[in-house]
Amino acid sequence: MPGRHSISVLTFWRKFTLRHFREDWFQTLLLMLILGLGVGTFLSIRMANRAAVEGFRLFTDSLKGASDLIIESQGDGIPVSRLAEIRDSLEGTPANLYPVIEVALYPLDNDISARLNNPSTIRLLGLDLVQLQSLITTSDGDEISDFWDMLDNPRHLLISESLATSLGLSKGSQLDVSITGKKRTFEVTGILPEFQDRTPLPENLAVMDLPALLNALGRGSVDRVEVLVPEGSRKSELLAKINDTLIKAFDGDLLIGSPTDKRMEGASMTTAFRLNLTVLSLIALLVGLFLIAQTLDATVSRRRKEIATLRSLGIGPREIYRLWLSEAVLYGLAAGALGILVGYGLSAFTVEAVTTTVRSLYKETSQTAASINLTDIILSFSIGIIGSLVAAYLPARDAASTPPAQFLRLGKRIPPFPLFERTRIAFTMLVVGALLLLLPPWNPEPGTNIPAAGYATAFLWLTGGTLAAAFGLKIVGWLMHRAGGNNAPLLLAGSRLAQPTSRHQLALAGFFVAIGMASAMTFLISSFEHTVTQWLQQRLKADLFVSSAGFQGSDSGPKMSGELLDQIEQLDEVRSVDRFRSKEVEYSGVLFSLAGIRFDLLGKDQELLWLNEPLPVTNAPSSFDAVGYANENFTRRTGTGLGDIIDVSTPQGTKSIWIGGIHADYARDNGLLLVDLPKLEGWFGFNDYETASVFLEEGVPIDTLQIKLREAYPGLTIRNNSELMETALFIFKQTFSVTKALQMIGLLVALAGLILSLLSLLRESGRELSLQKTLGMNRHEIATTTAFEGCGVAVIGMVSGLFLGGMLGLVLIYVINRQSFGWTLQAVYPFLDSVLLAVAVVLLALTISYATGRLYLRKWRPELI
């Protein structure tokens, strides 16, 4: 009886693990890269999400440091005449007040606008440059020459260095832009220096003297006043005092808040979107974990004799178990380190994609470069190590159960994992997953719904489905075996699949998860696209659509002045012009868009897609200020319904809105409540609009008027129906670009997993390959057997994955999407896409499996049998 011995983890790594890594360097490297890709994808999405939230900081922060308080008007800006009143209210308390105007400029020169692709507009800040002069000129002592010349000059502006570089502009360059829909020409008077102690200047920043900009826009109000309290030991005390004073003096009139509140608003608004991306980024990670399990399983199998010898030398099963888990830690460390590199590399793409989506769907944000912090690094290693340990559980248990060498039976086939044979567990997971769908969403804060039960269902279906799909291997194997009566490679491949090893099961699991999640997302996107197209067809009834050049959909994008729209409406060819303007307001802690359109045009020129037809006004209560038509996510986020009355705060006091109808709207997910435009104009006192729909008199040729309007108003974008549809669908597709990329990464990892698994199977089949050779099989026949085997795994992974994708897609459409975004979508299964995906993946699997077999055989040296 051998005595009990132990071996240190480091010795095990040095004497065994690392030597095997060196021996199988290609496979080890491939696995580590795949794992790095999995962890890196997750990390890059985390970094992009953080950058998107960081981007909600104020554009002024980089110039003068972060503000302490922000004063905003409930209506359309703070009149300049009130600035003194605000200053006086502070009664000499030390604080700097910075009035700010923020508008969007769109370059009209095609070459320049093409270079300014993302973001497509320049943010122009109107600031009191005299007040900021000391801040701007003291940096590096680099004074802006002609500084005094640009003051009060409505044509002069300063631009950031990165903007100058990206647009190829320098001091003295002329820039034609659209501002509030009008064409204007500016001159670049200077380049803003970077401030070493502040955040980098946003790529799309331009600055003008405040009085000059007020003059240029013909405005008498600023957008906000930012308050900066001097640094010092009494700062927090002073800040609290200023806050109290301002609230007391202007409560119900001006809104007083902190920049953190603003950022939190943005963060909260995008919570669901970011969470969905995070979950999606887990595809590659999840598939990667199956690969760790697969690789460790292969390693256990290959080193079975080594384990058996260690056991014979007196190392106990628990020790073996611990040593194999320690090997998983090594994979986890490598995955974590590579994940950081890959994540940082991918973040350049993901930050841009996520920021673009946030701009289109939510609100204007500055693009912040992705940054990696200590938490990311710790998280990367933690995910790598914990994931690897979870994945190593089954192989490590298998290793621990290896008998000592004297009892080891040679030539024994690799057994399947018993867990994959347990139908009851699989069935229970699937049923419990279905039952969880009955639970309501988790509501951590007002207006934010997290479909926790939906995610749990997805997890249980993925896991249970993985176990259930393993049975599919036997079925496909049996069918191939039957069909292979006249074909040796097919017969052999089928017979192997009919008696699957743990390696087959894990390769299938990776495939199943990747295909399932990818096809579920395709199902969701296809349903989304179909629904949005139908909605657009219903909504886009106008002949022409007008917006300020560079408008992309966010309500903080460039607007056009009402004066221009009045001019268009007065044209003989024009029957009517509807205008759209939204304001972000709050109802019971939920921020939503209160928007105006002309109700008098509803049912005539304009249409809404009703989910609940409007109630007759006779049903309305006696006292309310306006009828409102809510979209679906407004009712979900605020918990209101048809016939309810809500109160919103406006510069004209609190207004009661009676919800008289519910309509579909897929342009925003923060909730939309439509009221009659004249009411909104009266309450908030604005005269600029985001978009307008132009309806022409009978018989007026659309193209002719479109050309005429384009010539007359170069600062406006004028599109006809089909152009707008195209633009809307382009923005829609852009929105899902990250999703598509994540799907591709998931599939890539699954295919790489198939290669790994086939390599493992081939490596372990050394003697069987020699036997096949002595039986007269040539390289082509052996590689064909491998190809059929790989293809069989891919086919069952594809069929079961597509089925899972269909089911998960329904959960995404009817539960997760509805609970997170509040959109009712019409489920449209993308049959053509699925068939193409299936054919492409199966052909790819067949090809790479064959190639893997051929390449392996090229280097393979027959084993003596």
């Binding site: 040679l410 086939r413 017969l491 017979s495 050779k773 002595t774 099989m777 027959p862 003596l864 049998i865």
Partner: protein, 232 residues
């Protein structure tokens, strides 16, 4: 001339070394159609290396392996496979059945590689399973068979293509005495009936007893003086 036409295998000057160790040293011998030859020698004498060279699993350093009149050494692998397919089969000490195929499928497998028709396959498999006494086990998996049954199945598989020659590497090495005797008797009887040459490599004197010739091998050389003719 007649002799040459009757020769299935002619080995000349066959040498193989692993590093400094000469494993096969200038081997030369030939085997005629339906002849039963045993190569005996202790462990490490080079028997298995020689057999692996003949089976195409090892490439010799020098020499000729002429099989059915064509030299296998240096021939493109595809041609070697084609020439060997169905003509040169093997029986191993550890049986080496394909574990995922049933008994009858293991026997049928070489015929599938030759694209034989279904009816021909069915007929030949049936006949051979009967000859080796395994008709009743035709649908059994290899893991359900005893050692003796597995070797009988391996013999049936080796004979299914009516090869010119069978290479048998310690065919009784994993069997008990009673089973060994039966297997050797079966192998000899069937090889004779099918007109197949048989080269048995073994260290067991009993296994070589029924052969037409016995070649002794020691340190990679055939001891020509010790060649025994059992029958003339």
């Amino acid at each position: 001339m007649q002799d040459k036409a009757n020769t299935v295998l002619r080995v000349e000057g066959l040498s193989k070394a692993y590093g400094n160790q000469q494993v096969l040293n200038n081997l030369a011998f030939s085997i005629k159609r339906a002849e039963r030859v045993a190569i005996v020698g202790p462990s490490g004498s080079g028997k298995s290396t020689m057999l692996n060279c003949l089976a195409g699993l090892e490439t010799p350093d020098s020499g000729r392996i002429e099989f059915l009149g064509r030299d296998l050494v240096g021939m493109p692998e595809a041609e070697v496979t084609e020439l060997r397919r169905g003509n040169l089969t093997s029986v191993f000490q550890f049986f080496h059945l394909l574990p995922t195929l049933q008994a009858r499928e293991n026997v049928e497998f070489p015929l599938l590689l030759e694209n034989a028709s279904r009816s021909e396959r069915k007929e030949k498999v049936g006949e051979l399973l009967e000859e080796v006494g395994l008709t009743h086990r035709s649908r059994a998996w290899p893991s359900e068979l005893s050692g003796g049954e597995m070797q009988r199945l391996a013999i049936a598989r080796a004979l299914i293509t009516e090869p010119a020659m069978i290479l048998a590497d310690e065919p009784t090495g994993s069997l008990d005495a009673k089973n060994s005797e039966r297997i050797l008797e079966l192998l000899s009887k069937l090889a004779e009936r099918h007109g197949t040459a048989l080269l048995i490599v073994t260290h067991d004197p009993v296994a070589s007893a029924d052969c037409d010739r016995i070649l002794h091998m020691l340190d990679g050389k055939l001891d020509e003086g010790a060649v025994e003719a059992q029958t003339s």
